[in-house]
Every structure is written in structure tokens, then in C-alpha cells.
Symmetry: none
Subunit: 402 residues, 2 copies
């Protein structure tokens, strides 16, 4: 949701330019501030930032995106598994990347391709794997074995116009060499199957980009963290469609609530998520409602869409304000990172934060925006400070000292 000033918006940010009466109402009733998800100037990933916003020290516990994505997609990741974040992508015959998202392939097409990929058998060297598509071009790959390593490079070059990378070992261990061999063979088999797959032939006919390669990155294992129930003694639940966020919430021991129509895309059903959150609050101490859509619009550089999405989010908060008893409930609104619609990347600028509820030290901020919140009573905090603040407001923190 957070962004940098944009010339076309008369140097406002999309959030500042959007009509957002309910978000402003939360700012007005509450205490505001700005927050560095990890640290000032450091662009955070969605994974590290969400770990931080749930109160964990991401710099210490983060062990790669792959496992979080895989866990979130419903794969049961074992401690010895190595997991990757994958993209369905489009390359030309020289393996030069044309589109890292295969035209943001629809879930249905991706599911058919994933089903075929899962049927591949790798015999020499032999390995078990799980490949699962999640939302649009996103997917997760888990390779399973007792002697695998995460010290492997990515095949995803993370930009278009360059060749797909060969996966290389990042250390000299024999486990690493074996893992690299397995992965390069698997990537090759994936590529060959996708190239001649009927779904891609059909896509070409419809003038859609073929999803003719799998790019993988972020080799990792499942992070070892204490669940929120143990850290704060709370029942916690998560409403999110994005696998990565679901994965982080799951390793934090939160219940994952499935919501019909929640897709992790700009077409998601905001109101269905809001209704589910209200319902879930009845039996939980703490509920996270995550919206991915604004980040998608920023990565596409679509400022107009981003503003429209913020206005939809605002209406979602309007519904929640009408259905939450703020005499007994705290409501916080923030972002997990700034994404610039100009650079189309995550950036290190802080995000706005507002918290309302019965006993916050209400300040005089009247707008929910990057600059308005910077004048709020919370001043500037770190992402990992948010959870102790919220848990303290609902009486769930332990005193340090006596």
C-alpha cells in the first residue's frame, strides 16, 4: 500500500491521493506512526516483513522464502526438505526471459501444468519432489531427501532480457553438489515438458504468453520459531490468499482461514475477507487480514489501479468499523513494505501505521498516509515492535523484570 510521491499525482503517493474515509477515520480515532519493517532504508521482502510484523526477529530467524511459500501452499514441509519459490515464466528458444510471470497466467492453466509436472520421475539421481502452483504464476517446489543442501543459487535471473541461470553450488559440500545436480536435471525435465504441453499450445492460439519454463529461487528450509500461542498465549488466525503469507502465518502457529473469493489478486473479494475476519474474531484473540492486491498493482506500475484498490480496501475497513466493537477490540492498519510504482520494486521507505481501540493514546493525525502518519504519536518504530505493542494493548505481554 505504501509508495513514494508520484509526479502525476502532484507529488502525492497513491495512498495520499486515494479517497479513503474509513482509513482516515481509523487514523483520526487512533494513534499513528511510521514503521520500518526491518530497518530504515532496507527494502524488505513480504516474507521477512511479515515475520517482523508478527514479532519475530527476521534477521535471526529467516531461512529463505521457498519453505514459507511451500508451507503456505499446503505442502507439508519436513525439516530436511529444501524448498523453492517458483515462477511460471516465458523464455525464447535461447532461454532468454521474455516475461517472468508468463503473462500472469490464470490459476486454471497453472494448475493443469503443475499436475503434469508432478508426474515427472527423476531416477538418476533419484529424488522425490512436490511441485504446486499457488496464485497466478506463483508456485512452490520442495525436494525431499536426507542429504540435501540450501546452498544453491537461483535459476531465476529476476529480470527480463537475460538468460535463465544455471543453478550453481554456493559451497563445496557433497550434499550441495548433489542438490545442484538434481535441480538442474529437474529444471531441464520441467522445461521439456512445458514446451510441448497442450495448455501452452492452447495459450499460443489465444495469443497468450506460454508458460514454458519454471524459474526457481530462494532455497530454504522451514524457519524454527515459537508459535504465537507460546510467545503471547493467544489464539491467532490468518486470512490471506497469498501462499507466502499463509506460510509465514502457519509457521507462527496461526490457523489459516479459507475464504471463498479471496484470490491474492486485484480481483479478490475484499468484502468476503472482511466478513470472515469479523467472524474469526469471535473465537480468536488476534486475526491478521492480508491484502496482496496493492503490491501487485505497484509491481505492474499501475498507479490508477493501485488507487482504486486502496479505495476498495477503504470500503473493506468501512465494513469492519461498522461491525467491530471498538470499546473492546483493537484495530491496526499498516503495510508490510513500501513498493514504488515508479521503480516497481520494494523500497526501504517506512510504511504508515494506525492503531485504534479503547486505550490507545489518540493523537491529532487526521489522515492515513505516509506523511500524515509520520507526525503521529507512535513516531517511528520497527516492524518487530508492532506485535508487542498490540499484544500489550490486549493484555497479553509478560512483564520483563519485577
Amino acid at each position: 500500500m505504501a509508495d513514494r510521491p508520484i509526479k502525476e499525482l502532484n507529488w502525492k503517493t497513491p495512498l495520499e491521493a486515494a479517497r479513503k474515509p474509513s482509513l482516515n477515520q481509523i487514523a483520526k480515532m487512533g494513534i499513528c506512526g511510521i514503521m520500518d519493517p526491518i530497518a530504515p532504508g532496507i527494502p524488505s521482502g513480504s516474507d521477512t516483513a511479515t515475520l517482523a510484523l508478527l514479532g519475530y526477529d527476521a534477521l535471526k530467524v529467516y531461512s529463505g522464502r521457498g519453505a514459507l511459500e511451500a508451507i503456505g501452499s499446503g505442502i507439508n514441509v519436513l525439516p530436511s526438505d529444501v524448498a523453492f519459490r517458483c515462477n511460471f515464466a516465458t523464455v525464447n528458444e535461447d532461454l532468454v526471459v521474455l516475461d517472468r510471470r508468463a503473462g500472469r497466467i490464470a490459476n486454471e492453466d497453472a494448475a493443469k501444468l503443475a499436475e503434469s509436472l508432478q508426474k515427472i520421475r527423476l531416477e538418476k539421481p533419484s529424488v522425490e519432489f512436490v511441485f504446486k502452483n499457488t496464485v497466478q504464476h506463483r508456485a512452490a517446489l520442495v525436494i525431499r531427501g536426507e542429504k540435501l543442501s540450501t546452498a544453491v543459487s537461483d535459476s531465476d535471473p529476476e529480470k527480463v532480457g537475460v538468460k535463465v541461470l544455471e543453478i550453481r553450488p554456493l559451497d563445496e559440500n557433497s550434499e550441495t553438489k548433489l542438490t545442484v545436480k538434481i535441480l538442474n536435471k529437474l529444471m531441464d525435465k520441467f522445461r521439456k515438458l512445458l514446451e510441448r504441453h497442450p495448455v501452452n499450445k492452447e495459450r499460443s492460439k489465444r495469443e497468450l504468453l506460454p508458460a514454458n519454463i519454471i524459474l526457481c529461487r530462494g532455497a530454504g528450509t522451514a524457519p524454527r520459531i515459537k508459535p504465537l500461542s507460546e510467545v503471547y498465549g493467544v489464539n491467532a488466525a490468518c486470512i490471506a490468499a497469498t501462499s507466502l503469507i499463509r506460510g509465514v502465518c502457519k509457521v507462527a502457529g496461526m490457523k489459516l482461514i479459507d475464504v471463498k473469493g479471496a484470490t491474492g489478486t486485484p480481483q479478490t473479494d475484499f468484502m468476503a475477507k472482511a466478513k470472515a475476519a469479523i467472524q474469526t474474531l469471535k473465537t480468536n484473540d488476534f486475526v491478521v487480514l492480508h491484502v496482496k492486491a496493492t503490491d501487485v498493482a505497484s509491481h505492474d506500475g499501475d498507479v490508477k489501479q493501485k488507487i482504486e484498490l486502496i479505495e476498495k480496501i477503504d470500503r473493506m475497513f468501512g465494513y469492519m468499523l461498522n461491525n467491530i466493537d471498538l470499546n473492546s477490540t483493537y484495530l491496526a492498519v499498516t503495510a508490510d513494505h513500501t513498493t514504488s510504482s515508479i521503480t516497481q520494486n520494494h523500497e526501504g521507505d517506512p510504511v504508515p501505521l494506525a492503531i485504534t481501540g479503547p486505550y490507545v493514546r489518540r493523537d491529532d493525525v487526521e489522515e492515513f498516509g505516509e506523511r500524515a502518519c509520520a507526525k503521529g504519536g507512535l513516531n517511528r518504530i520497527r516492524g518487530m515492535d508492532l506485535m508487542p505493542i498490540l499484544m500489550n494493548l490486549i493484555g497479553k505481554t509478560k512483564k520483563f523484570g519485577a
Copy 2:
């Protein structure tokens, strides 16, 4: 540049009292804040603060001022060398310090004395050393050997009216005892040579204080840090006359740009430095322009001079504003520490900071001052946060996470 409120200025600080249209313009166009070079309340040295402002964790990497001063003065400091920051000073016959800066001795006199000191030979115990004067009373001493220690006390009592200290061991190691023995012998030889040196006889005739002793402090080795080119992938250069700052920038892998007329004193050629900075920017991603003069005025308690110097710095920024394309360049202005013109010491109050350039979240601060900036959109950050913020603005930070 930063200071505390002063009664004679109607409780304004020198920066607040100065006429500074260009600095105010930067604040107006940019985003402002206050910054604790190390941490709130901790007075920082120029060395630790500059390390922090370049993004290093000074609390972890700082290994004494001596080596930084020596490196900055052009001495090639080896890993096993022990280096000291030295002052030419004035003592009476009982070795009571009368002036720690020998009347801020001119560079020419100091150079002649240093040349003579370098000719001294120490035989028992035998040691090689390098002694070099830098700006005014400042100098560096490096002692060279395989079995030396930094665990030695200073000879500089850091105040007037008390006796010069004997250098003592700070641990029980034999290397330390040897180092102490060498240093006390060397200090004694220095003292004897200076006492009868023609330059000092000449100074007495001109009614100038004789530089009749060398005070040394801050035993240290060269810090081991990654260069900025490796941390952020930037070409970086430094325009500074002060050896200590040059030393810090050199260990950070920055090119040192020599500027004719840049002296590290209140008489420095501000405009020559500004012109050199503009020129250097053409071939570098990041240029540091450092001005020492305001700190000198503060240490002398000369409020009037400090204000005049701030106004000269303001004109220097005026030149830069006219010659930098702020559509494609970021400009930040700050101080490396607060120096109180009343206590004449570095103090732990935060310093003001303003950053302008195309995509900063411009705030409503209209003045570059300690208190005006405290209301800015950056709120309060630490010195080591500045570099990630700047590097993020120019697209040189790596995302943490995915």
C-alpha cells in the same frame, strides 16, 4: 554544525541563529529529521560518527582513532602496526599542560618539527616509527613491529592545568609492557628534541606558544570493514582535509579527492570544495563533502565565528543547488555530532538531517535547524541508518527476503 541553545542568541543555537537560505531551501524541498550518530545521549567522536554515517556499526568495528588519523594522513598502516592520534602541545617545566594545541600551530611550523622528530632513532628497545603532522596541531604516530599492543593508556590528559600522563599498560601481557616502554622512551626523546628546537625558539620570539611536547592518545589498529563498493556496489569519493575523516573514508574504500585550498580549518576554501564535489559527482555514485571548520569554532567556544562559518557553508550549498540536477541526484546535509560552544565538547544531542532529491517524501519543515528538523518526516534515526536510506533512494540496496 549542531549545538545546544545559547543564552546570548536568545536561546537559539548557532545554526538556528545563522542566515542560511540555501540550507533552508534544502529542508523545504526535502525530508528532514534528527539523527543520533551512535545512540541517544552518546557523544560521538568524529571517527565513530563518520564510520556510522557511512553505514558501519561503529560499536562493532571501531578500533581506535589513531589508525584512522594515520591512514588519513597518508601513512600506510600495516595490520600489525599500532597507531596514535597526536597533538603538538605546550607544557611548562613541570609538564603541566598550558595549551593542548600549541596555539593552533601553523602547518608550516608543525611540518618542520615533524621532520626533525622523524629523524630520532630508538635503539633500546629498538622500534621503527612514522610520525606525521596533518592539520595545525594534529599529527599521527605509528609504531611498527610484530609484537606490539594497543592496550596502552594515553599520555594526553585531554585538559589544561594538569600534568602530562605517563603511558601505562592496560593489561599484563609482555607485548603491552614492551609497547609502553617504547612509547615512554619515544615521548621523552620527542620532548627533549622539541624543547631545544629552533622553530620553538623562533615561536617564543614571535610570542607564540612553543610546541614543546607531543601528546598521544587513542592507540588503535586499522579497522577491518568491507568497502562501500562491496557493500552497496557504488563508486564513492570523499572531499575532506581532516586526516581523521580521510582515514575513515579510505578504509571504506572511497577515493580521496585533493582540493587546493581545503585545509580543515575555518580558513578553508569552501567554494573550491563545492566545485570539486560537483566535478567528482560526474564519475561517482556517492560523494561525501566534509567541513571541519564549525567544529573548530565550537571547540574554541567562538559562537560568532561558528555562525559566520555556517553562513559560508550555506553559500557553499547555494553553489551546489545551482549546479546539481535535483531531478536525478539526491543531496543530504547533516553533522557528524553536536559540539556545544558552551562546554566546548562533543555532546550527545542528536544532529539535524535533511535529504532532498526526486522521490523523497517531502515534508513541511521549512528551516534547517536542530528543532525544526525534529518535526520532519524522517523522525529520529541512527547514524548507521543514513547510508541504507541514501543507497535505497539511488537504487543500491539489496532486498532482504523475497
